[in-house]
């Protein structure tokens, strides 16, 4: 009898424990905590259609004014006065405009990494935030495009880059990495915008069904008449698979080609065979850092997003950030070691200038925020699951990666093989223009959050359908079925 009672208690305890485990899994994993689709739709659409508060309007007006002054007016001044108002001059002909170009292209890599690479590898945690990341790619590339046009100065002559029969019968030079840039960035911008739009179509159709008035018309036009027939889903699935696989090499090619703008020149510090992968890993480093900041902001400032974006997502991105930080450190050291060992007089001079020159603090700060801080914080699962902490790390990584590009471009251009030309670069109008691109990037997010569903609800539901808890012996584990 006593034995029987004990057994019953044990069983009860076990059931309680099992129930507790299930609750724990549900609380932790979005994929195991399904809500009816209609409820999820309502949560997402409430965030989109809710009347903006005065704080939202104040933010938009402030940012709009900043963009108007820093980007529009300053660019007008740059065009009206000429590139003399910028700080670029001999020997640093490339300044912050190109630093920002490389920086924004780097940011754009996170979208493809999260959406395409994680889709290909069936990383389930990606589902709720693929759109937030894809938007980053498109918005980042817009800023990169602006920055490179600013660098051009006479932006109205940009069409000279295009291969066309010009009046002097000269053929645009495909030998130049700058013409490869044009092709690669154009390909990437178009591809990433299409890749953003395709999975958005079903959510636009959902928004069409959930709204009235001007919004209904807006979504009706954008949803293109999507209903969700078997054929439509099949075409969409095929296209998204092709995009996911094809956009990855395009992403790698873009930043590799950007690195060749530097590496193809016989300059100290630039002429490196490892610059391609070094730039790609750097792009992923800053991109993932930016992605985690945007994700934390979306979770904090947009209604109902704490259901979709949870600690598990910060934990997963935090792990990726840690691995990428290690990869960046490896490539940095590899590049540094070979340049240092080579013993070339000018390269040694340049490396000394990086570390002990007037801007040597940038070099050390870069290493601290790109390596030391991420390693010190992201190894800990609890810390990397804390949104505010991991987003501070993300911001610091971006500061570090911006400094890295500043060191590679204007600082490295200061030292060349003609010492009589050495002169430190001091930025001019580049500063407001750079601020303008940053604010425009944030403003685009703020506006788009009120226009399109930021969460791909159908992808979340698809993931939730594929997940279940299963018992193996006494252990409850997560089981994922491959539905796609």
């Amino acid at each position: 009898m006593a034995y029987g009672k004990k057994e019953t208690e044990k069983k009860q305890e076990h059931h309680e424990h099992h129930g507790h485990t299930e609750e724990h899994f549900k609380e932790k994993h979005l994929m195991l905590d399904p809500l009816p689709r209609g409820v999820m739709n309502d949560m997402v659409m409430e965030a989109v259609t809710e009347k903006p508060s005065w704080k939202w309007w104040a933010t938009v007006i402030f940012m709009g004014a900043t963009v108007a002054y820093c980007l529009v007016y300053s660019w007008y001044v740059l065009i009206a006065e000429g590139v003399g108002v910028a700080g670029v001059n001999r020997p640093s002909y490339w300044g912050i405009f190109l630093v920002n170009t490389v920086f924004w292209i780097g940011i754009s890599h996170a979208g493809t990494f999260i959406s395409a690479i994680l889709r290909v590898f069936r990383a389930e945690f990606r589902r709720p935030f693929t759109r937030v990341a894809e938007l980053m790619t498109t918005f980042g590339l817009v800023q990169a495009g602006f920055s490179i046009f600013m660098h051009m100065g006479r932006v109205w002559l940009a069409y000279w880059l295009m291969p066309y029969p010009n009046q002097r019968m000269l053929w645009p030079n495909f030998h130049s990495p700058l013409s490869w840039d044009l092709l690669a960035i154009t390909t990437y911008l178009l591809s990433s915008t299409m890749y953003l739009f395709l999975p958005l179509i079903p959510d636009l159709a959902m928004a069409r069904d959930k709204t009235t008035g001007w919004r209904k018309n807006f979504y009706r036009i954008l949803a293109l008449g999507f209903r969700g027939t078997e054929g439509e889903w099949t075409h969409l699935r095929n296209a998204m698979n092709i995009f996911a696989f094809a956009i990855i090499p395009v992403m790698f090619s873009v930043h590799t080609i950007v690195s060749w703008d530097f590496a193809a020149a016989m300059r100290p510090g630039w002429n490196s065979t490892i610059f391609g992968p070094y730039f790609v890993i750097g792009a992923l480093h800053s991109g993932m850092g930016a992605a985690v900041v945007v994700l934390a902001a979306v979770r904090k400032f947009i209604k109902n997003m704490d259901y979709f974006i949870r600690a598990e997502h910060f934990d997963a991105i935090g792990k990726l950030m840690l691995i990428i930080s290690m990869g960046w450190a490896y490539f940095f050291f590899n590049d540094y070691m070979v340049q240092w060992y080579g013993g070339d007089k000018w390269t040694k001079q340049l490396l000394h200038f990086h570390e002990a020159g007037p801007l040597g603090w940038m070099w050390f700060l870069m290493l601290i925020v790109n390596i030391a801080i991420p390693w010190a914080i992201l190894w800990n699962p609890k810390w990397r699951s804390t949104p505010w902490l991991v987003s501070i790390v993300g911001i610091l990584i971006n500061v570090g990666m911006w400094l890295e590009r500043y060191i590679i471009i204007p600082i490295s251009l200061t030292i060349n093989r003609m010492p009589f030309t050495w002169r430190q670069y001091t930025p001019g109008i580049e500063i407001p223009l750079g601020i303008g691109t940053l604010v425009l990037f944030i403003l685009l997010y703020v506006i788009f959050a009120k226009l399109i569903p930021m969460i791909p609800v159908w992808e979340v539901q698809e993931g939730q359908m594929a997940h279940q808890l299963k018992k193996f012996g006494r252990e409850t584990v997560v089981q994922v079925s491959e539905l796609e």
């Binding site: 009816p36 689709r37 209609g38 739709n41 291969p163 029969p165 019968m169 000269l170 053929w171 030079n173 495909f174 030998h175 490869w180 092709l183 690669a184 154009t186 390909t187 178009l190 591809s191 299409m194 890749y195 739009f197 395709l198 079903p202 959902m206 069409r208 069904d209 959930k210 009706r220 036009i221 949803a223 293109l224 008449g225 999507f226 209903r227 969700g228 027939t229 078997e230 054929g231 439509e232 889903w233 099949t234 075409h235 969409l236 095929n238 296209a239 092709i242 995009f243 094809a246 956009i247 090499p249 395009v250 090619s253 080609i257 159908w458 539901q461 698809e462 359908m465 539905l483 796609e484």
Partner: protein
């Protein structure tokens, strides 16, 4: 195919709450004599043909993508190999060949990928008849996770189809009239 027939008669639209009864309904409809061409499913989440027990959907997307890649490659080949010789003032860069392979590879790669991705995007529009703003057979409940089975079959009595669908757990059954989305 069912969509084109719907112009003659509205057909039947049944809404199901879950995937299993939907797949079951399709199987039973087939037994009743409704062919696969006479029905289709509308859902708010992608479900494969295998899950629904439906024949595989034909998609031109991969073929069009391949065509786009070939077109992009051809355009790049033209720009890289042919166009430079048409100009009276060729630009010689250092000791590089007039049409050197490494940069040409970059041009070939980028334009091939651009051609492929643009045509993939276009193929979705062509295959799905996007954009299409005409009235169509649809129920907004689909967005909320329901499954709609639309049947338009002239040779099987509509009342039999309705009875069967009701028996199989359809939440609602109505005429599949085209409506403005």
């Amino acid at each position: 195919m069912a969509e084109s027939k719907s112009k003659k008669s509205p057909g039947v639209l049944a809404v199901f709450g879950d995937l299993d009864p939907t797949a079951n309904a399709i199987e039973q409809l087939r037994k009743l004599g409704v062919s696969d061409d006479c029905m289709y499913v509308v859902s708010g989440v992608p479900v494969t043909e295998a899950m629904l027990g439906r024949p595989p959907q034909h998609s031109n997307v991969p073929r069009v993508a391949m065509g786009g890649a070939i077109l992009g490659f051809s355009a790049a080949s033209f720009l890289a190999f042919i166009a430079p010789y048409w100009y009276p003032y060729p630009i010689q860069v250092s000791t590089q060949a007039f049409v050197p392979w490494p940069p040409t590879f970059v041009i070939l790669f980028e334009l091939t990928m651009l051609g492929m991705l643009l045509s993939t995007f276009l193929a979705v529009f062509l295959d799905s008849f996007f954009p299409n703003y005409r009235p169509m057979q649809y129920v907004p409940e689909v967005s909320d996770g329901k499954y709609a089975v639309i049947v338009d079959c002239a040779h099987v009595e509509e009342s039999k189809i309705k009875d069967l669908l009701k028996k199989l757990g359809a939440e609602s059954i109505k005429p599949a009239e085209a409506q403005q989305l």
